[in-house]
C-alpha cells in the first residue's frame, strides 16, 4: 500500500452517542485507515475507497474540521480533523481516489491474495453454468443449447450459451430478439424437471399500441409446446401496469393476449430502480437518526416503502414458484429490460423451488446465472465506475434481503447464515474480486477478468466454515423441497444486521448463531479428544463403549470468523483474529466494567449504560441554580425546570 497521507489527532465520533475516540488517519492508494491511539484497545477501521459512497466536508467547528463519510456497506463515519488544511487535503484526495475513470484503476486489478495462476484459474472454474443446466436436466428432448449468441451478435447483454426450445429455429430467435428491448429474447433460466416446466426470461416486447411479431409469437408458442403438462404459459410482467402502459407510448409495452395463443398474462407491480433507490435512501435516513423514537421509526419504516417493495418481490417469486410447481405451467418473466426485476423474481423463484440454491455452492451458482451471466448491470447499479446517479439502485441488495427474510421463516432450510449474505453484499461493492465488475459477460471478457483478477467464490469457499448455518438440515429440504413462505406483512422485518451492521450497540450482545457455531467447533475438538483418550485407555486394556450413536457427527471445522461481518472490525490477519477470539468469552460482551485495558474493543463496546442510550446522568450536585428536574434523553442529559 502506498501511503499518501497521515493525519494525527483525528477524532472519530460515534454516530448515536456523544462518544469519540482519538487516533491517526492514514490514506493509502486503496484504503482509508483509522487507528485508535489508545495503544491497548487500538481499534482499527479500514475503509476501502470503493466502499465510499460520498464524502462531505462540513463547516469548521472549534474542535476542527468535520469529515462525514458514507459507505455503500451502510457504514457511516464522522471524523473531526484538527486542521482544516489536512481535512481539505484528505477530502480532495478522496474525491479523486473514489472516482476511478477506468476499470484498470479498480482494486480487483491490484488485489493480490498471493495465489499462483493455477489457483486463480481454479477459482474461476468453480462455478460452471453448463454443468448447472445439466443438473437441471437440460439439454433434453424439449430444450437445447443454441449458438446463436456465440459472438454476442443477437444480444450483447446476454451470455454466449443460451437454452431455447428445440422447436425455436434460428430465424424465430432472431426475429423474436428484434421485437424485444435490447434484443433480450425469451430464454430458459430454470427448468423444473419434475413437471418439465420452464422458467424463461426476456425483456419487454416492442409492441407499442398495436405492433406484433410472428416470430415472437412463435417463440412463446414454442416455450408452451415444450411443456406437455400445461396448455398455457404464464407471462409475468413484473412492473406495475401503469409503468407498462406508459412504455407503450415509447413503442414498447407488454404482450397482447389476443395475439399470443394460450398465454395468461399477469402484472406483478414491482416498482422501478428509481423508486427503489429513493426508498432505500429514506430507510437509511430513518435508521440513522439519533434518538429515534419508536413512533418515528415505525412511521419512517412505513413511509420509506422499503418492506412493501421487499414483499412485492417476494409475492412475485411465490407466484412464479406456485405456477411452476403446483400448476406445472411454464412461466415467462420480464420487466422493461429484463435485468433488474426479472433477475430478482427468477432468482428468488428458483430458490423457492430448488433446495440446491439454498446451499452455499448453489447460491453462488444462482447469482452467477441469474445475475452475472444474464447481465444485471452491477457496474451501473453499484456505482463502480463513471457514476450516473440515476443508474444506481439497490436491486441486488433487495434480492439478498428477500433471501434473509426467508432464512427467518425457515431457519433450517439454508446451508448459509446471514453472514454469508452480508459478506456477498460487502464484495459486490468492494470491487476487490472480478466477479461483479462490469455490466455484462461480454464486457467481462473484454476486461479479461479471469486472467487479471480473482474470483470471490473461491475466496468465500475457502472460508466456508464462517458462513455455515449450524441449524441447516438437508433432510428438511428433502422432505419439503419447495418453500412456501407466508406473505403476511408481519413476517417481513427490518434487517438490522444489514442496514445497521456497523452500529454495534444495537445488536444483541450474545449471538445465538455464534454460540452454536462455536459449539460445533468445540464438538470436533471434543470428539478428537475422546478418540485420543480411548486410544490411551486401550493401551491399558480397557475397551470403551462407542460414542452415543444417535447424533451423527458432522464434519465441520471452524476457523475464526471474520470480524468484518456484523461486528464491524477490520479484517485482521488470521493470527490476530485468533487472539481476539481467544480473549472473548461468552457472556463477557455484557461486561460493563471491563477496564479498557484488558479487552478488545469488542468486549467493552455496547455494554456500557451510556452507550445504550438511556442517557447520561449529568455530573455532580450542588451547583447554585440547580434545576428541579432532569430529563434524560438519548445520550444527552437535558435540563428543564
Amino acid at each position: 500500500h502506498t501511503h499518501i497521507y497521515t493525519v494525527e489527532q483525528v477524532k472519530l465520533l460515534d454516530r448515536f452517542s456523544n462518544k469519540s475516540v482519538t487516533g491517526t488517519l492514514h490514506l493509502t492508494a486503496t484504503h482509508l485507515i483509522f487507528v485508535e491511539s489508545n495503544s491497548t484497545s487500538a481499534q482499527e477501521i479500514w475503509i476501502l475507497h470503493h466502499h465510499i459512497a460520498s464524502v462531505e466536508k462540513l463547516s469548521l467547528t472549534t474542535s476542527g474540521c468535520p469529515l462525514l463519510i458514507q459507505c455503500r456497506n451502510f457504514r457511516l463515519v464522522h471524523f473531526v480533523i484538527p486542521r482544516e488544511r489536512d481535512c481539505h487535503d484528505i477530502y480532495s484526495s478522496l474525491l479523486r481516489l473514489l472516482r476511478p475513470v477506468s476499470y484498470d484503476e479498480l482494486y480487483a486489478f491490484s488485489y493480490n491474495p498471493k495465489q499462483n495462476d493455477q489457483e486463480r484459474e481454479e477459482g474461476w472454474q468453480l462455478i460452471d453454468l453448463a454443468a448447472e443446466f445439466e443438473r437441471m436436466g437440460v439439454p433434453c428432448d424439449q430444450w437445447q443449447l443454441t449458438d446463436v449468441n456465440r459472438e454476442y451478435k443477437v444480444c450483447k447483454t446476454y451470455p454466449r450459451d443460451l437454452y431455447v426450445p428445440i422447436t425455436a429455429s434460428k430465424p424465430i430467435i432472431v426475429g423474436s430478439s428484434k421485437f424485444r428491448s435490447k434484443g433480450r429474447f425469451p430464454v430458459l433460466t430454470y427448468f423444473y424437471q419434475e413437471k418439465k416446466a420452464a422458467v424463461c426470461r426476456c425483456s419487454q416486447p416492442l409492441s407499442g399500441f398495436s405492433a406484433r411479431c410472428l416470430e415472437d409469437e412463435h417463440m412463446l408458442q414454442a416455450i408452451s409446446k415444450a411443456n406437455h403438462n400445461s396448455r398455457y404459459i404464464y407471462v409475468m410482467d413484473t412492473r406495475p401496469k401503469l409503468n407498462a402502459l406508459a412504455n407503450r407510448a415509447a413503442g414498447k409495452g407488454y404482450e397482447n393476449e389476443d395475439n399470443y395463443s394460450n398465454i395468461r398474462f399477469q402484472f406483478v407491480g414491482i416498482e422501478n430502480i428509481h423508486v427503489m433507490r429513493g426508498s432505500l435512501q429514506k430507510l437509511l435516513e430513518v435508521v440513522g437518526t439519533r434518538s429515534l423514537s419508536m413512533t418515528d421509526y415505525l412511521v419512517g419504516l412505513e413511509n420509506s416503502g422499503w418492506l412493501r417493495h421487499i414483499k412485492a418481490i417476494m409475492d412475485a417469486a411465490i407466484f412464479l414458484a406456485k405456477a411452476v410447481t403446483v400448476e406445472g405451467a411454464s412461466v415467462l418473466v420480464h420487466c422493461s429490460d429484463g435485468w433488474d426485476r426479472t433477475a430478482q423474481v427468477c432468482a428468488l423463484g428458483s430458490l423457492l423451488m430448488d433446495p440446491y440454491y439454498r446451499t452455499i455452492k448453489g447460491f453462488m451458482v444462482l447469482i452467477e446465472k441469474d445475475w452475472i451471466s444474464f447481465g444485471h448491470k452491477f457496474a451501473d447499479r453499484c456505482d463502480q465506475l463513471d457514476p450516473d446517479p440515476k443508474e444506481v439502485s439497490p436491486i441486488f441488495t433487495q434480492f439478498l434481503e428477500c433471501v434473509w427474510q426467508l432464512t427467518e421463516q425457515f431457519p433450517q432450510a439454508f446451508e448459509f447464515s446471514e453472514w454469508f449474505l452480508i459478506q456477498i453484499h460487502e464484495h459486490v461493492h468492494s470491487c476487490q474480486f472480478g466477479n461483479f465488475l462490469g455490466n455484462s459477460q461480454r464486457q467481462r471478457e473484454d476486461l479479461q477478468l479471469k486472467e487479471r483478477t480473482y474470483s470471490l467464490w473461491a475466496h468465500l469457499l475457502s472460508e466456508k466454515q464462517n458462513y455455515l448455518n449450524p441449524l441447516f438440515s438437508p433432510s428438511v429440504a428433502e422432505s419439503h423441497p419447495v418453500l412456501e413462505p407466508s406473505t403476511q406483512a408481519y413476517h417481513f422485518k427490518f434487517w438490522r444486521n444489514m442496514y445497521n451492521q456497523y452500529d454495534r450497540s444495537m445488536h444483541p450482545r450474545q449471538s445465538i448463531l455464534k454460540h452454536v457455531l462455536t459449539l460445533q467447533e468445540s464438538k470436533r475438538e471434543l470428539e478428537g479428544t475422546v478418540q485420543a483418550l480411548k486410544t490411551k485407555l486401550q493401551k491399558f486394556g480397557v475397551s470403551t463403549s462407542p460414542l452415543k450413536p444417535q447424533t451423527p457427527p458432522r464434519e465441520r471445522s471452524l476457523p475464526p470468523r471474520p470480524q468484518s461481518l456484523i461486528l464491524g472490525a477490520p479484517l485482521l490477519s488470521r493470527k490476530e483474529v485468533q487472539q481476539e477470539e481467544d480473549k472473548e468469552v461468552f457472556g463477557e460482551e455484557a461486561r460493563e466494567d471491563a477496564p479498557a485495558s484488558t479487552g478488545g474493543e469488542r468486549t467493552v463496546e455496547g455494554s456500557s449504560a451510556t452507550e445504550n442510550g438511556y442517557g447520561e446522568l449529568m455530573g455532580s450536585f450542588g451547583s447554585k441554580n440547580e434545576p428541579g428536574v432532569v430529563t434524560l434523553e438519548f445520550g444527552v442529559a437535558r435540563m428543564t425546570c
Partner: protein, 549 residues
C-alpha cells in the same frame, strides 16, 4: 350458587371446532362449571379443554339453524364452534358468557382444582419475606424487618412484613404512610451488593396543591443515603401528569424538602392507556389484509412498542443510577402498584444475575409483583378482546414480561429460562388452575385462605418434569450487569405471544429443537471426555508402581 343453574344445555353433539393451523374436529361439546370441553370421542385426537376463565369474549351468529360461536381467549387465541340447533347454540353461548364472567373469586377454578401430582415442594412456602431478609442481613445491617403492617391496616396493599431502614421506628412509618398514596410508604426493593446502593419504591407523596410535607417521610428516605451522598427519585410520570396529580391530593417531592434528591420524570403510560394499546396491537396482529403499509401503521398506532421502549428505558435509567452513578434510587408513579413495579423489577433483572435464574425470577415476581400488591385480579380480569368499557384492566404485567423477553433476546445466553416460561406466566396470570395470581394483594390472599385451599403455581412449575421445557439450553451463568439496547431497531414484536395463533411455528420449533440437540450433544461429549480422563488418571496412578521399577 350452583353452576348447574347456569348450564342450560350441558351437552351438544355434532359440534365442529375450527382452530387456526389445525384440522377441524367434530365432536361433542360439554360444559362444566369451569371448562368448555370438546371431544371427538376417538382415540388419538386432541381434545379441547378450555377454562371459562380464559374466555375474554364471545360472538355468535347464525346461518339458518346452524349457529356459530366465536370464542376469543385471554391468551389471544380465537376459536370457532359450529353448533347445530339454534336453541342449543343460544344456550351454550349464554352459559359461556355467564360462567366466564363470574364475579366471586371463591367460585374460581383454583378452589375446585385438585392436583393429579404430588406436591413435593409447596410453592406457598418458597418465597417468604423472612428468607429474603436473611440474605439481606448477610450483606448489611442497615435494614430491619418491620411488622407495622401485620394486620394490613397501615397499608392494605402491602404485605405484613416490610424492609425499612433500621433507624426508622414504626411510628414514623405510620406517619410516612399517611403521607403516601394508599399508605405505600417507601420500602426497600433491591440492595445492590456491589456498591451498597439501594432501590426503594413507594406511591406518590400526598403534597396536594398547598405543598404539604412530612418530616417522617423525608427522614425515612434520607436514612437510606450514605453520608454526603445523594439519590435519585424516578417519577414514572411526566412532570405535567405529576403536576396535575396535585389537584387530586397527590404530587411529587418538592426539591426544597428533599434537597439530597434529584428528581427525574419519565413518561410511562397509565394503565387505562395501556389496555387500549393492547387491544389495538392484537387487532393489528389479527388483520389478515397482508398489506405492509397497513400493518406498519396499525403497529405504530397501537403504541405498544413505544410503551415497551419507555418502560425499558426507565428501568435502565434506574439501574444506571445505582450501578454507574453509585446513587440510591426511589421509584414511584401514582399508586406505586403498576409502572413502579415494572421499573423496579426490570432494573433488578439488569443488575442482579440471580433474577435471571428460574428460582430468582419466581422470587422476583413474588417480591415485586405479588407481595408488592400489583392488583392482578383487577388488571387481568379482561384481555385484548374485552368489549365493554375497560374498568381497571391493563396489561401491566404482560408489558413487564415483554420487556424481559426483549432483554432475553439481546442476552440469549444469560437467562436460565426460555421464552416459554414467560408465555406460561402470561397465561397463568390471566387464567389458571393455580391461585398464585388470584386477588389484588397479600391481604386478600390471606383472607381467601389460598395457601390452605388452593395450589400454588410454583408447586407445579418447579417439578422437574414441568421445568424441563422452560429451561434455556443456551444458559451460561453470567454475573455481570446486562445493559440492553433500547434503540427501536433493537426492540422486536413479541411474536411468541402476539402472533402465536396466527402463524405456523413448525419450522421455528424444529430449529429450536436442533439447537438444543447440538448443545446437548456437546455436553455429553464434555462429560465423556471428563470421565475418560478420570478413568485414565486412575489407571495411570494404579499402574505407576508397576512402571517405576
Amino acid at each position: 350458587m350452583e353452576f348447574a343453574e347456569l348450564i342450560k344445555t350441558p351437552r351438544v353433539d355434532g359440534v365442529v371446532l375450527h382452530r387456526p393451523f389445525m384440522p377441524t374436529v367434530e365432536g361433542t361439546l360439554c360444559l362444566t362449571g369451569h371448562h368448555l370441553i370438546l371431544s371427538s370421542r376417538q382415540d388419538n385426537t386432541e381434545e379441547l379443554w378450555l377454562l371459562h376463565a380464559n374466555i375474554d369474549s364471545t360472538e355468535k351468529r347464525f346461518v339458518g339453524s346452524l349457529g356459530t360461536i366465536i370464542v376469543k381467549c385471554k391468551d389471544l387465541r380465537v376459536i370457532q364452534l359450529d353448533i347445530p340447533g339454534m336453541e342449543e347454540c343460544l344456550n351454550i353461548a349464554s352459559s359461556i358468557e355467564a360462567l366466564s364472567t363470574l364475579d366471586s373469586v371463591s367460585l374460581m377454578y383454583p378452589f375446585f382444582y385438585r392436583p393429579l401430582f404430588e406436591v413435593i415442594e409447596d410453592g406457598w412456602q418458597l418465597f417468604v419475606p423472612e428468607e429474603a431478609f436473611k440474605d439481606l442481613e448477610s450483606m448489611t445491617d442497615e435494614w430491619r424487618l418491620s411488622e407495622v403492617n401485620k394486620d394490613f391496616s397501615v397499608c392494605p396493599s402491602y404485605p405484613s412484613l416490610l424492609t425499612v431502614p433500621k433507624d426508622i421506628d414504626d411510628e414514623s412509618l405510620c406517619k410516612a404512610a399517611s403521607f403516601r398514596h394508599g399508605g405505600r410508604f417507601p420500602v426497600l426493593s433491591y440492595y445492590h451488593k456491589k456498591n451498597g446502593m439501594v432501590m426503594m419504591r413507594a406511591a406518590q407523596p400526598l403534597t396536594g396543591t398547598n405543598g404539604r410535607r412530612c418530616k417522617e417521610d423525608e427522614k425515612l428516605i434520607n436514612a437510606t443515603l450514605c453520608a454526603g451522598k445523594r439519590g435519585y427519585i424516578i417519577d414514572t410520570r411526566t412532570i405535567a401528569v405529576a403536576q396535575q396529580a396535585k389537584a387530586r391530593g397527590g404530587g411529587f417531592e418538592q426539591e426544597a424538602n428533599y434537597p439530597q434528591w434529584r428528581r427525574i420524570h419519565k413518561a410511562i403510560e397509565r394503565s387505562n392507556v395501556l389496555q387500549e394499546s393492547l387491544i389495538k396491537l392484537v387487532e393489528a396482529c389479527n388483520d389478515q389484509s397482508h398489506s405492509m403499509d397497513r400493518w406498519l401503521s396499525k403497529l405504530e398506532a397501537s403504541n405498544w412498542q413505544s410503551n415497551v421502549k419507555e418502560i425499558l428505558t426507565t428501568a435502565c435509567l434506574a439501574a444506571q443510577c445505582i450501578d454507574r452513578e453509585g446513587a440510591s434510587v426511589l421509584v414511584h408513579g401514582t399508586e406505586g402498584t403498576d409502572s413502579t413495579l415494572q421499573v423496579t423489577s426490570l432494573a433488578q433483572i439488569i443488575l442482579d444475575p440471580a433474577c435471571r435464574t428460574i428460582r430468582g425470577f419466581e422470587a422476583l415476581i413474588e417480591r415485586e409483583w405479588l407481595q408488592a400488591g400489583h392488583p392482578f385480579h383487577q388488571r387481568c380480569a379482561q384481555s385484548a378482546y374485552s368489549n365493554g368499557k375497560p374498568r381497571s384492566e391493563a396489561p401491566v404485567f404482560l408489558l413487564f414480561l415483554d420487556c424481559v423477553w426483549q432483554i432475553l433476546r439481546q442476552f440469549p445466553c444469560s437467562f436460565q429460562f426460555n421464552e416459554n416460561f414467560l408465555i406460561m406466566l402470561f397465561e397463568h396470570a390471566y387464567a389458571s388452575q393455580f391461585s398464585t395470581f388470584l386477588g389484588n394483594s397479600v391481604a386478600e390472599r390471606v383472607k381467601l385462605l389460598l395457601s390452605q385451599k388452593t395450589v400454588s403455581l410454583w408447586s407445579w412449575v418447579n417439578r422437574p418434569q414441568e421445568l424441563e421445557r422452560f429451561l434455556n439450553p443456551l444458559y451460561e451463568p453470567n454475573n455481570l450487569v446486562i445493559w440492553p439496547s433500547v434503540a427501536p431497531q433493537s426492540l422486536l414484536l413479541w411474536e411468541g405471544v402476539f402472533l402465536r395463533w396466527n402463524r405456523s411455528t413448525k419450522c421455528l420449533d424444529e430449529a429450536y429443537q436442533e439447537m438444543a440437540h447440538i448443545i446437548e450433544y456437546n455436553k455429553e461429549l464434555q462429560n465423556k471426555v471428563n470421565s475418560l480422563r478420570r478413568q485414565l488418571a486412575q489407571l495411570e496412578t494404579e499402574d505407576s508402581p508397576l512402571q517405576t521399577p
